[in-house]
Symmetry: C2
Subunit: 92 residues, 2 copies
Amino acid sequence: MPSLSPSDVQSRLISVPDWVVESGELVRTFLFKDFRASMSFVNKLADLSEQAGHHPDIDIRYNKVRLALVTHDAGGLTTKDFDLAAGADKLV
Amino acid sequence: MPSLSPSDVQSRLISVPDWVVESGELVRTFLFKDFRASMSFVNKLADLSEQAGHHPDIDIRYNKVRLALVTHDAGGLTTKDFDLAAGADKLV
């Protein structure tokens, strides 16, 4: 799977407006009411990731969960990253 | 709860030899066979954290889970951090 061109990345970002590109990764920090709510989200995300065969970096900070997506094999962002970002958005 | 003195930290580190102090935090990276195994550990750790009322920073990188502990209220490491570190060690 080839990585997306910068202009393709820009157009696709429109469909996931809560995400930003940071150091070549697609990133969003989700805010929850407490740690349990963070864990509930992370578990739903884990199932989605296993189904997709694609795993974000997940940083849990009590009621905040930061996800960072990139397709290492492609050396950049691909449609897999944007698909998983859109899927994560639907979990909240 | 007061933070531990540097010499107390050094003595307590002997009881959790897989942990190191990095930037004032008690840190260990756990290695698992895959993402599912990482998630299984994180869920057990989450229960332990809720029981202890103390929550580490948790970074999931597919089959690696990095925990970082510090007692923010005390401005440093306390027995709560070492207790939770020892508890996390028992989960693997």
